[in-house]
């Protein structure tokens, strides 16, 4: 069932909350994906 919004404030509060949750998920997922992508690369020592 779709969420019913009575005010623009309700709508923005809801969508922003979902976006923040997604952003948190992406912030965790993308570094993990980068780790998967480069996991077998030769390690380059920078020190």
């Amino acid at each position: 069932m779709d969420t019913v919004f009575y005010t623009l404030h309700d709508f923005i509060l809801y969508t922003k909350a979902v976006v923040y949750l997604l952003m948190g998920g992406i912030l965790i997922t993308l570094p993990l994906f980068w780790h998967f992508l480069t996991g077998r690369d030769e390690k380059k020592r920078t020190f």
Partner: protein, 389 residues
Amino acid sequence: MSQAMTRADKIFTPFNVISGTIIFIGLILTVLRFTGGLGAVTNLDNNNPWGVWIGFDLLCGVALAAGGYVTSAACYVFGLKRYHSAVRPAILTAFLGYALVVFALHYDVGRPWRLPYPVFYSQGTSSLLFEVGLCVFLYLTVLFTEYSPIALEWLKLKKIRNIVIRMTLVLTIFGVVLSTLHQSSLGALFTIAPSKLHPLWYSTYLAVYFFISSIFAGLSMVIFESSLSHRFLHHKMDETHLKESAGVALGFGKAASFVMMGYVGIKLIGIAIDNNWHHLTTGWGLWFLLEVIGFVALPAFVYALAVREKNLLLVRVAAAWTVLGVVLNRLNISLVAFNWHLPSAQRYFPSWMEVATSVFIVTIGVVIYKFVATRMPVLYEHPDYRHDH
């Protein structure tokens, strides 16, 4: 006799026969278009004024020509010199791509003698189309200048070639700036039609989507074009090119994979910010998911697997897959999901002549690429300038 047959064999190769036939049909359609108007060859109407010539030739052409700015930025701005051998083929592809975009635009707009009008005579400075036009005009000039050392080396015009080579970094920066502007503006064009574009494809972030997708479109196109060159122009490649090509494919595949996953992330945010989740369970939603998961997330994962396993074949498969995905995305936005609310009788479907004209234009590009790559130092370094960079 045998000499004559050899000459005939050389002229009537399968490539020449097929491309010659397509170009012949294309020339007839060109005459029809410019004598009979749009109505003579297209299914365009007042509801659908932009068809496959804009959706494919322009939007896909510009996106897939992004390899030029991506490769030259990687090599000259970010200093990744191990990708140097990929710069010239990428610049040539981009130059031909943009030149053919302008060429194809004539078929849609008509009256070719008015091509300079938007820039030099009547500037519509409040229009995104003006910005696209100006950027494409400037970037085509930049690409021509970036391409010119190839022709100048072939023509043995050393002095002019050396002057142009000194401008490489400035041209690269200018090219990146212009590409950022017009790649995103092509997406921004559709933000003026919120009621016409399906909500799953419409977003106020369309400009960002177009720019980000152009990056992996360009990277994939360089890999795809390189694999075709390996297949058909292998004999024209020098040792450096052959040695570096695996590194180029794996490096570009890695970059494309990560950017594509980021793109999937911002597409998710786009759905969330407009609260369009409920559309995902409709038929349109399944088509959208096919585009985003089937043609972005999956090839990104295949790229990642290929890079981990150092599997060149898999990288090339993922590149072709991604190129198809970008074409699908641009066609969805400009044709499939555009005017989605209209009854099917009023929807646009291109006539065979529109499709044939697009095939004709792509064929011209392939023929010119082959002509240049077999004669000029594109896939190999000119012996006089081997240690010049």
